[in-house]
């Protein structure tokens, strides 16, 4: 019995041994989500070692930040997690506001929640679609993009951009919502809600999908915390942390009065999982399936938050408030703020020396830490599992390489 316990079930060894092979997955590989390069050492189909090589998309954003004012740097945050640029804008704006001890107007607060949660849906849709692609099914990808396009249309109305918005800015927003936007957003949510079942049918409950993801890349909560994994990756391992509820006061204050349940498995149940497919028998907490499912639940959660935010926003009277000056003087000091972005906790660290230009800016990216755990998860898996595992971490290279 003890012998059985000693065996690592994940690592399979054969009597038939062949020469080890070193293969390069990426940086131009179809399933590495951008310019990620994975070096695999394989014995046949089994990956004995995997090492990510990053930096192909390094654009020196932090160095550039030392030469721009805080508001000028916002477009650079867009280009970090370019799939959730609104969240990036928010993270940086909040960090600067925290240093300035500035509070945005009530209306701007609700508008921020609205926009950010909408962007979270868009980001998770890409994550979901691309994950299907990683597992070899193409159709869900286009289904996801079809809906994402509608969100991008809404964003385009708001700020004129479809990918790099720079909409949320230090001290508020660059503009208020155009007339009739709320109705269009409402219409989108109404038609989007039933479609989620479609995704569950195509992916979440699909037998092959479950076979490909269940018990693959199991990340224990200890390991997840140890590696600094955050976001859906951490919650997929069953750790109940969501900065919207547990974060710093300036961030949680933004969500004051909002009702939401953190998408994490508690006592064998996900919040309102009665509405959604049951957890398959094969899946164990912390595997790829759970990470994927947490994202799917967060889409529903975000839809709910968007509806609440729309309510509150429309009830707010008065002006949105002007954003701060482009070259607002920053008090000397330093501050660090993490926000809950779709990919995980994105932290911005800001050091100032009393001028309007920061002395040092630092972006702590969630994908960076999430990806760092992938060599551990991929040890002993099959080649086909590598895209499945890396895809389930849902990394964005723009954020990792900055």
């Amino acid at each position: 019995m003890s012998q059985i316990l000693d065996e690592d079930q994940r690592i399979i060894e054969f009597d038939v041994r062949t020469d080890e092979m070193l293969v390069n997955m990426g940086p131009q590989h179809p399933s590495t989500h951008g310019v990620l390069r994975l070096v695999l050492r394989t014995d046949g189909e089994i990956v004995s070692e995997m090492e990510p090589h990053i930096g192909y998309l390094h654009r020196c954003a932090e160095k550039i930040g030392e030469n721009l004012t805080a508001r000028q740097w916002i477009p650079y945050t867009d280009r970090m997690d370019y799939l959730a640029a609104m969240n990036m804008n928010l993270g940086w704006s909040l960090a600067v506001e925290k240093l300035l001890r500035y509070q945005v107007s009530e209306k701007a607060r609700h508008l921020r929640v609205l926009i950010v949660e909408l962007n979270r849906i868009a980001s998770h849709l890409v994550g979901m679609g691309a994950y299907g692609l990683d597992l070899g099914t193409f159709s869900p990808f286009l289904y996801a993009f079809r809906e994402r396009e509608k969100i991008l249309d809404l964003f385009e109305e708001v700020c004129g951009a479809r990918l790099t918005y720079s909409y949320i800015t230090v001290g508020g927003m660059t503009a208020d919502l155009p007339p009739g936007w709320l109705q269009r957003c409402e219409a989108f949510l109404d038609q989007f809600e039933p479609i989620i079942q479609e995704y569950h049918a195509l992916l979440t409950t699909n037998a092959i999908f479950v076979k490909r993801t269940a018990k693959i890349g199991v990340l224990s909560p200890e390991m997840a915390i140890d590696y600094g994994c955050t976001g859906p990756v951490l919650r997929g391992s069953g750790v109940d942390i969501d900065l919207r509820r547990d974060g710093e006061s300036i961030y949680t204050a933004m969500h004051d009065g909002y009702a939401f349940e953190v998408a994490v498995m508690k006592d064998g149940h996900y919040p309102r999982d009665h509405k959604y497919p049951a957890v398959p028998r094969d899946a164990i907490l912390g595997d790829c399936w759970h990470r994927f499912f947490v994202r799917m639940l967060e889409v529903v959660q975000s839809m709910d938050l968007v509806r609440q935010a729309m309510d509150r926003y429309s009830q707010c009277k008065g002006a949105l408030g002007e954003p701060l000056k482009l070259a607002e003087k920053l008090p000397a000091g330093d501050t660090y703020l993490e926000t809950e972005c779709p990919k995980g906790q994105m932290g911005f660290y800001l050091v100032t020396d009393g001028t309007s230009i920061p002395w040092r800016v630092r972006a702590r990216s969630s994908s960076f830490s999430n990806l760092a755990v992938s060599p551990e998860l991929c040890r002993g898996c099959l080649i086909a599992d590598v895209p499945a595992i890396v895809g389930s971490l849902d990394v964005v290279m723009g954020e990792i390489d900055r």
């Binding site: 990053i54 390094h58 160095k63 915390i225 000091g333 330093d334 932290g347 020396d353 702590r364 830490s369």
Partner: protein, 176 residues
């Protein structure tokens, strides 16, 4: 637990670790002696009541003013500061540690400062330390695999240092 209690506990646990503090800043921080860092981190993670089980971020700040005119006006000595942002899952609390290092080890130009690695405490420190090494030039002793991470392996210099100059050319490509 109150902050002051925590500090006295830390002082008791790791003798001579705490060399500075600012509890009134936007983010209160503690300054740790460079040679006591590893011990302090161990204690913070394993033994103290609020277990800081997550390392969120490591940042190195280069306090150096290349412009001699401005340099004359600043009130700090040139140094490198390494900042650790810790997080406790249990208490949902964060902690900021700062470590002050010389810009160059023994003031010897080109010899990067050394600091003990905390990879043995938090595995997540691995890539963060590599990034700090890569961009700001801090040697982490005890790191299992300290290589450049974002820049190419044969890159010269540490880009996030204030006196860094972009090379004129890299493998035949124009730099400036």
């Amino acid at each position: 637990m109150r902050g002051t209690d925590f500090i006295s506990e830390l002082e008791a646990a790791v003798d001579g670790a705490l060399v500075g503090r600012d509890l009134d800043a936007v983010d209160p921080w503690l300054e740790i002696a460079a040679d006591k860092l590893l011990e302090t981190c161990r204690w913070l993670k394993d033994s103290c009541e609020i277990r800081f089980d997550g390392l969120q971020c490591i940042t190195a700040i280069d306090w150096f003013e290349p412009d001699p005119k401005k340099a004359a006006k600043v009130e700090w000595e040139p140094h490198t500061e390494v900042v650790y942002h810790l997080w406790s899952t249990k208490a949902r609390a964060s902690l900021v540690l700062k470590v002050r290092l010389p810009r160059w080890q023994g003031n010897e130009q080109g010899k990067i400062p050394e600091l003990s690695s905390v990879v043995s405490v938090w595995r997540g420190a691995d890539w963060h330390e590599r990034e700090v090494f890569d961009l700001s030039g801090v040697q982490f002793n005890g790191h299992p695999d300290l290589r450049r991470i974002l820049c190419p392996e044969d890159w010269d210099g540490y880009p996030l240092r204030k006196d860094y100059e972009m090379p004129l050319e890299y493998h035949g490509m124009r730099g400036r």
